[in-house]
């Protein structure tokens, strides 16, 4: 498991997406806001809570083809599944890699963004908690959809159509500041679902 984690992290960080890339992506998504809606600070605070979820969803969703597709297409997935004793361990290590590479940068730049958008530090802590617990669930969902759609080639829009309705509960509860326990519960539920469904999907494609 740790060998796989190390390999995936090295691959992710040395290839196209270093931490700087993903965190710049978040900052740029949020910098669009004042240009679109003006610099009224009350309005910006409201918009910030929503757009930060759009940034997180986009960064998880647009990169979902890197979870299994690259390995599947060059045949590495077969080797990975043969080397590891159980399929679940492979899936868990994929969760961890995807979360570290595409969600963690957001949490690093989040305190800085709170100054840009006049959000108070108390609120930013609650937003942080929401995003933290929600991001796990979103990674779980994206992983199982990616495992299911391995055979559908290069169809990021199809995957978006499948994923976005499943994201909606997270987004609804995410914009409310006190609802992090519900997000935690949603993440746990999607973990259970995701484990079964991704194992099922991977077994179908790699036989």
């Amino acid at each position: 498991m740790f060998a796989l984690l190390k390999r995936d992290l090295y691959l992710a960080l040395y290839s196209s997406s270093s931490f700087f890339y993903t965190s710049s992506f978040f900052v740029l998504i949020l910098i669009i806001l004042p240009f679109l809606f003006g610099t009224n600070d009350v309005q910006l605070q409201i918009l910030f809570k929503g757009i930060i979820w759009i940034g997180l969803s986009l960064s998880i969703l647009l990169t979902m083809e890197r979870i299994f597709n690259a390995d599947y297409e060059d045949g590495n997935l077969d080797i990975i599944l043969q080397q590891n004793p159980s399929i679940e361990i492979v899936i868990i290590s994929k969760y961890i890699t995807h979360w570290i590479v595409y969600c963690l940068p957001l949490f690093i730049v989040l305190p800085m963004l709170s100054f840009l958008f006049y959000v108070s530090l108390d609120n930013i802590f609650l937003i942080f908690l929401n995003l933290f617990f929600g991001s796990f669930g979103m990674v779980f969902i994206v992983t199982f959809v990616s495992a299911l759609t391995l055979g559908a080639k290069r169809t990021i829009f199809l995957k978006a159509i499948i994923v976005i309705p499943l994201f909606i509960p997270f987004l609804i509860f995410g914009t409310n500041l006190e609802s992090w326990p519900i997000l935690l519960a949603l993440s746990m539920m999607s973990f259970v679902l995701s484990m079964y469904v991704s194992a099922y999907g991977l077994r179908l494609y790699v036989e």
Binding site: A152, I161, P165, P169, I172, L204
Partner: protein
């Protein structure tokens, strides 16, 4: 494949088809006569209320179709009988169309009642999301070229979607109570008069017959498609 699709199924469908078509037309004639001419107009909403006789049955059957879709996907997992995968596929398209009908008629009904084409009501939003769940299922099926694999994958997606429907419904309800003042809830009139109940019942029956007719036609097409696929595989 443990169970084969036989010509017998197609024969039954072809025999049942004329009866179904005739009875659908008869039921719709009676239903439209009672709902458009015989029933009184609503004393608040006037004649615009009559669109309910299409709207309500199609919304019910849109939900029922997803239940059938999920149920036949589960049965497919248990028995691996290809007929369940075919049933799921044929009902998905019909369900999507019924969802669309209920959304469009609801919107047309909403214009004179609320003054706008769309309100962000909990039920409307959930139906819109249901439409996209259907769409995802159909698109996923179409995008995978290996059809054996596609039926396995889309069955899994149907079950995932079915598990998610209560979660989506719950969260949308919660969101709605947070953002929406309770002005729209007068739509859910608890008591319905018997003079409106009879046409609604006949129209429900007619819509159900229509659903069964279209479902059988789709089922026949899908079975034939499946046979063609098998023949190609053998060659």
């Amino acid at each position: 494949m443990n169970l084969r699709l036989t010509n017998k199924q197609i024969n039954i469908i072809e025999k049942a088809n004329p009866f179904l078509i005739v009875s659908t037309i008869v039921a719709f004639t009676f239903g439209l006569y009672f709902s458009l001419l015989q029933s009184p107009p609503d004393y608040i909403q006037g004649d615009s209320m009559r669109i309910m006789y299409i709207h309500v049955p199609s919304a019910w059957f849109a939900l029922m179709a997803y239940t059938i879709l999920a149920g036949s996907s589960v049965l497919w997992f248990i028995t691996r009988n290809p007929i369940f995968s075919i049933i799921a596929r044929s009902i998905a398209q019909i369900g999507m169309i019924f969802t669309l009908i209920s959304l469009v008629t609801g919107s047309i009904w909403g214009k004179p009642t609320w003054g706008v084409w769309w309100v962000w009501d909990a039920r409307l939003t959930s139906m819109l999301l249901l439409f996209f769940l259907y769409l995802a299922y159909i698109f996923l099926w179409q995008s995978i070229t290996n059809k054996d694999l596609a039926s396995k994958i889309s069955a899994a997606l149907a079950i995932v979607g079915f598990v998610n429907i209560p979660i989506i419904k719950f969260s949308v309800d919660w969101w709605n109570t947070l953002h929406q003042p309770a002005t729209i809830s007068k739509l859910s009139s608890p008591s319905i008069d018997i003079s409106m109940m009879v046409p609604l019942f006949i129209m429900t029956l007619a819509t159900f017959l229509f659903l069964v007719t279209v479902f059988f036609i789709r089922l026949r097409i899908e079975i034939l498609d499946n046979k063609i696929l098998r023949i190609r595989e053998v060659k």
